[in-house]
Structure formats: C-alpha cells, structure tokens
Amino acid sequence: MSKYTPKSSELKKEFEEKPTILKGDYLDKEWWDIPVEFRDGNWCFPAKPEVVENLGFPNPRKWTATDSDWKLPVGWEKTISEGLKSRLKKYRSLKLFLDSCVRCGACADKCHFFLGTGDPKNMPVVRAELLRSVYRHDFPLVEKILTGFSGSRKLSAEIIKEWHMYFNQCTECRRCSVFCPFGIDTAEITMLARELLNLIGVNNNWILEPVSNCNRTGNHLGIEPHTFVQNIESLAEDIEDLTGVKVEPTFNRKGAEVLFITPSGDVFGDPGVYTMMGYLLLFHHIGLDYTISTYASEGGNFGMFTSNDMMKKLNAKMYHEAKRLGVKWILGGECGHMWRVVHQYMDTMNGPADFLEMPVSPITGTRFTNAASTKMVHIAEFTADLIYHKKLKLDPKRNDHLRTTFHDSCNIARGMGMFDEPRYVLQQVCNTFHEMPDNTIREQTFCCGSGSGLNTEEYMEIRMRGGLPRANAVKHVKEKHQVNSLVTICAIDRASLPTLMNYWVPGVSVYGLHELVGNALVMQGEKKRTEDLRENPMAGFTKGDDDEE
C-alpha cells in the first residue's frame, strides 16, 4: 500500500469515533472561513510542463498543490472573470444552476465524497457555492451590495486553491442532481469550473497526460499502432490457449460493417483485458463483420474532464474514422464517461453522422431506432438483443464460481438511463445475482470514487473515502449473499474498484459484463473448458470430468 493510502483501520476508527456524517464543529464558523489544507493523499499531481505545452494549454510550469505560490499567470483574475462571463452566455444550464439554488440541503448527504470525508465543502450545495459566491460578487447588482447577506466574496488565490481541491473532489457523477428539486447538476458546474481552472494552468496530470496521449496516438495510454495490434493479438492467443478457438480481429479494415470502439483500458489494463477477450469471443461467435481502429482506439474521453472543446476534439476521431473506413455503424464497448459523451454530446458536437446508416443488428435484424441519429450502439444493448433472440449458445453454469452483483456506473445510469439491458445480460450468463440495497443502485448508484480522471495513486486517500458508500453496499451483499464478484460496465470502474474492494471489502473481485459473457459462450469447435478467462477454475468443470453440458 502506498504512502498516500491511510491504513483502513485508521479510517474505520475515524468513522467509529465520529459517526456523524458532517465532521467538525461549524457552529460559529462560515464555510468560507475554513482553510484549505493540502496533504499527502488529497491532491493530484499537476500536469507536467511538457504535457501542457504539447496541448497548447496556458501556463506550463513546475508546481505542486502544497506550494504557497502557485505561479498563476499575470492577470489570472481577469481570465477567470471573463471566462466565467463568456460561459454564462453560452450555457443556460450554468446561469440557471448558479441562480436558482435555494440551499434546501436535499443534496447534502447524497455525495459520496461528503459521506466519506465529512467535509462540509463536499456537500454538493457548498461545492456549487464555491463558484456561486464569486459569481454573486461579480454579477448581479443588488447582491453585490449585500455582500454578507448573500454570501458573496471576491476572487482570490486562496479561492483558486479551494476550487482546485473541491472541483477535484467531485467525480461528475450527477447523484446530487437526482435529488435536487430543480435538477441542479453539480457535474455541469464542476465541468465548467475545471475548464476555468485550466485557463490559468491549474490542472491534473492524470487527466491532461491521457488527453495529450489520446490526441497524439489515439488512446489515453499513448499506445502506438503496432503495440496496440500486438496486444489484442496476444489476447487472441490467450483465447486460443484457453478455448481452442482462434478469433481473428481485424484492424483499420475498410468496408467492414461495424467499427468497434472501446476504452483502451480494455486492451491494456487488468482486469479490462478479460472483458476485451469476452468481446472478441462474442464477435467470433456471431460472425460479426467488424474492425477495430488503431487511430480511434480510445472510447474514453478525458477531454470531458478538461474542457468542452477538448472533449469535442478527441471525440471527433470516432466519426472521422467511421467515415474513412466506410462502416455502416459504430458499436461501443463498456465504459462510463465514454457513453455520457456518446449519448449526450457526440452527435451535437461532431454530427450529423449522415454518412452512416441506421444501426441494424446483422444477426437479429433489430433496428436500433434509439440510436437512429448517432448511429452508435452500446454493446449491452447489442448483446441483450442477441440473447433475447436466442442467437447465443450460453452455458451460465460456467459462471457458477461467481456470485455476482451489479454496479451501475454513474454516467450510464444518470447520463444515459441504461439499467435493464446489462442486468438482463448478466442474469442470462450467470446463475447467481443479487442486487445491492435500493438506495445504492440504478439512478441512486454510488460512484467508485475515482471517476472523472481522479484514478491516480497519489489521490488514494480521497479515492478510498469517496468509494466508501459503494464499498459498503458491496459489503452488505457479500455478508448477506456471499457475493464475490462485482460486475460493472465501465473501464474506470474496472481499474479502480479492485483497489477499493481490497481496501474495504477484501474477497470481492471486479468483472466486466462481457467477461462473464465470454465465460458462458459455448463456442463452435471449442475444447473442453475448465477455466474461466482469468484461468481460474470454474466450479463443476474439473479436468477429465465429462459431465459438461
């Protein structure tokens, strides 16, 4: 465990001793008088100067959050003030959300970071007030006169530090927005606040480096084309070793029917690679005419955590490549924020995709009319349709060693509304499935605590705290139903939840949905299966035993 991770016994003790949700005594204190303290484990490394330069972003320099002087550029106050002004003109959402909050407090205990830290500034209402207080000072006339009355304050370097801290303790998960009577969406405020911070070079390396890589090589990890191909081919070899079936994915192939795009974490990260193996098996099973691009080799989009323009710039590659390859439609892999971008932003930003056709499943003939305009289908929708039409030969017994529960990813849940397709698929490919408690799933799902570009080592304390509500719900089903597998359809979840589970709920492993599909698929010409895609023994499928099927 790294130096950025507090001992879990210490954190447990903290929660035992101070069981109130809000920690500390604020009776005679205003929230804006509480100082901002950076310490190991609660701040992300700032972007390296060369990364900032590479992107053409302002103010590349060496600095850290613990410095007293952040070397902000000359005239930064004006940059922020004008940046805010121009965004208020461009986004009705921002203006409305800054104007209409009544501070009813319904959102307060809905944020996983608040539940895990007890820090008053992590109540979504206060997070928004961090920006609102400055906005009130600069904009509406009357409230400007009544400073103390309306809680307004003048922008200062200290406030920039506070923004940096708390707009990076928000994973843009939108849970608060579900409970807000006005639908105020803190994700929207955080996105625009991070945009403002980037204007003066207050940034996060774990976000900007992937952005820079993605721009250059096509994916967050900076994998060059030949390595990208090699890695998928080595996964194909693993599949052959395990199943005896040779899957043959193609790359950058013109004239394929479908372009498949998934987060690069599925190609390189453990346990994402097993999900990738699941996709490859599925496509082979149904004989899908598809290709994978090395240029548009990233489903994820860290531009979303940077600025709207950057989100658009990185996302543009998807349609650009689909057009060049002449595919009919695009199929997207399991990812959270990727699907927020694809579902709610892509068509608006980079469409219309009139060079593509209405997505039709070549196997079942189902027309995906819900994707009539973007021409991009989610793999869970695609697979659910295949299973519903009985086009897959599945043996759910092969997942009998897994007792599963399903983690709804924030963006898929609250930025897309896909709940039932993945559950349907999961329940068709495995025999044991238990839901976590009602207030922790579906639209009320809790974030993994590491979303929106915060999945970095040096941020471990905040991540483990923010992930507590999710981990707690998993613990509940582990104790009640002996659940040992947390299934999810998000690459950031796959990367971050294993750490979280190890920390709070040891004994629970994290799986992608299509990894379980891959386990259950009975492939034509396969050899006798005794191990799952992770080479773990499957229950009831011992070597030499002939009772399969």
Binding site: K90, Y91, R216
Partner: protein, 322 residues
C-alpha cells in the same frame, strides 16, 4: 431586519399620515418591480442557449422494444418531459426521493427515507398558493364559484369567529419547520445564508400581520376591498380609513414582491427551465443542435498515419498512402 421593515409602515402611516404612499404608490411600484423583474429574469435565462442535451436520467431509457421504458424519469417525447417538469412543480417529485444518510458502527452507511422536507415544502408552497388565491376576493368584484368553493373548503374547520382557515395554520406550521431545520441541523447551519432566512422571516411576518388583522384586531375589510379594487383598476384614489396593521401587512408584501426577482425566490421560474429535467432523453435518436458549436481542429487520420506509417506497415496495418 424584518421587524425594522415592519416598523416603517407603522410609523409612516400612524404618525406621518403617509397612507397614500403606503397604500397606493408603493403597491404599484412593487407590482411593477415584481412583474418587470420576473419577466426580465426569465427572458435573461431563455435567451441563453442550451448547447447540449443533458437530462439527468432517473429511469430506464427507451431502447429495445421489450425493455420497459420509464417514460417519466427518462422521457423520450415532449409530452412526458412536460409531465416530468409539471410533477416536479406540483408534487416536488425529486424531493420525494429524499433520504437521510446515517453512519453506524462498522463503519456501515444506511440510508433512511426522509420525507419531512418534501412534506414541509409541499405543505408550505400549496398553502401559500391557496392563500394567494383566497386573497383574490379582495381584488374581484364578483368572486368566481371556484374560488368561493376553495374558500369554503379552507374554512372547513369552523371553530373560530371569523371562521378559521386551515391554510393559515398549515403555512405557519410548515414555515416554522423550514426555519427550524435550518437552525437545528448542523449541515443546514453550514449552508444557510442570511438570504435564506430573510424571505422566510418576511413571510412569517406577513402571515402574522394577516392573521392578527383577521382574528385579533379585526380590520374592517370594506375599505380594504375598495382600495384593492381601485388598485386593480389602475385608479389613484386615496385609501379610506384602514387599521395600521393592514399597512404593515401590505408593506411587507410589497417588500417581498420587490425582493422577489433579485433573489433565490426566482426558483419558481427556474424550475420550468432546468435542462436536466425539461429535456427529452433522446439524444441518440434525434440530434440536438448547439448554436455556438465551436470550430475545433482535431488530429486527422492522415496526420496520424504520417507519423506512424512505417510502424503501421511493419505491423501489417493497411495504410492510405504508401
């Protein structure tokens, strides 16, 4: 602050004889500010674009035919989106979901249902609406049957003289609850600003003045109705003999009206416009256009291939240019 405000008309009318100012000039001014201000704020919001389709999806989207869509929480047509907003306005649907988180030993988090805020908020807002509607008997020569009925229903518990209004009690109880929760809950203490208490106190003062007029000092309503009818007909007749308490009531109402467009009370208009609630979740089926969709330069495939051509060829990847 509110008591100082209440004192102004008392002194003004009782000692300085400024009945005309407080009874005619100020109400006109207040109404002008309220209507003009409200309209300005709404237009100011509406003229800003909604660049993206960003509904918060709180239910299953429309997808495959055999998957049950949650039409209200993930609407795909205008009608359902409108219903979503309206149920929000009329029944505070999102607030109904409210839970309260508690930390137990373990540590174990538990989320209990917490409907008090919903109940209090709903009771408060509906009572206010009924009270405002009831007041229309002062503004209309002939009171329509529907309002007459509402008035009678509100007097259902005929226990005092004049008959006691249910909503008077309800609004007092709920507004007290709304104040107390801001004072008693430690989270609410942190987030509450003076601007949150001010309108509550102002409303309490208005209610107390109103109730006292009706049940205690028993202000003669005939000159009040005459004044109000005069006002709604844009007349400038000076008011007749009316008790000072009425002026306090009226003045505080005027203050509330003037304060309204500049304050968080504008949430009453904003709730209709919230893009996370009033948009359809159909952004993949139907393109949402952004009027300022910024022009950006992205890295094209050919630039990419130029950089990696040799490596791509070695990996047997097809290339566009040799």
């Amino acid at each position: 602050m509110v008591s100082v405000l209440a004192f102004i008309p008392y002194v003004g009318v009782h000692y300085a004889g400024l009945g005309y100012l407080f009874g005619v000039v100020l109400p006109y001014l207040a109404m002008a500010v309220l209507l003009g201000g409200f309209l300005f704020r709404m237009v100011d919001w509406l003229r800003r674009p909604v660049p993206f389709c960003i509904p918060t999806t709180c239910g299953q989207e429309k997808s495959l035919d055999w998957i049950q869509q949650d039409k209200l929480e993930s609407p795909s047509s205008f009608l359902y989106a409108a219903a979503r907003v309206l149920t929000e306005v009329l029944f505070f649907r999102s607030l109904f979901r409210n839970t309260k988180a508690k930390m137990h030993k373990g540590p174990t988090l538990a989320y209990g249902s917490s409907k008090w805020l919903w109940l209090g908020g709903l009771g408060f807002h509906w009572s206010l609406l009924v009270i405002v509607l009831r007041h229309s008997r002062f503004f209309l020569v002939m009171v329509p049957d529907s309002l007459q009925l509402l008035d009678e229903a509100d007097r259902f518990f005929d226990i005092t003289l004049p008959a006691f209004y249910l909503t008077d009690a309800l609004v007092l109880a709920t507004v007290t609850f709304l104040v107390l929760r801001r004072l008693r809950d430690s989270k609410m203490q942190v987030i509450s600003l003076p601007a949150d208490f001010f309108p509550l106190f102002l409303i309490i003062a208005i209610i107390i003045a109103g109730i006292s007029m009706r049940y205690v000092t028993k202000v003669d309503v005939m000159p009040v109705k005459a004044l109000m009818l005069n006002l709604v007909n844009f007349g400038f007749e000076p008011p007749g003999e009316i008790g000072t308490l009425f002026y306090v009531h009226l003045f505080l109402v005027c203050m509330l009206a003037i304060y309204f467009p500049f304050s968080k009370l504008m949430h009453s208009g904003a709730i209709f416009l919230s893009p996370t609630r009033n948009q359809c979740n159909n952004s993949r089926a139907k393109r949402h256009s952004n009027p300022w969709n910024s022009a950006i330069k992205f890295r094209t495939y050919s630039e990419y291939e130029d950089d990696y051509r040799e490596k791509m060829k070695k990996a047997k990847l097809p290339v566009d240019k040799q």
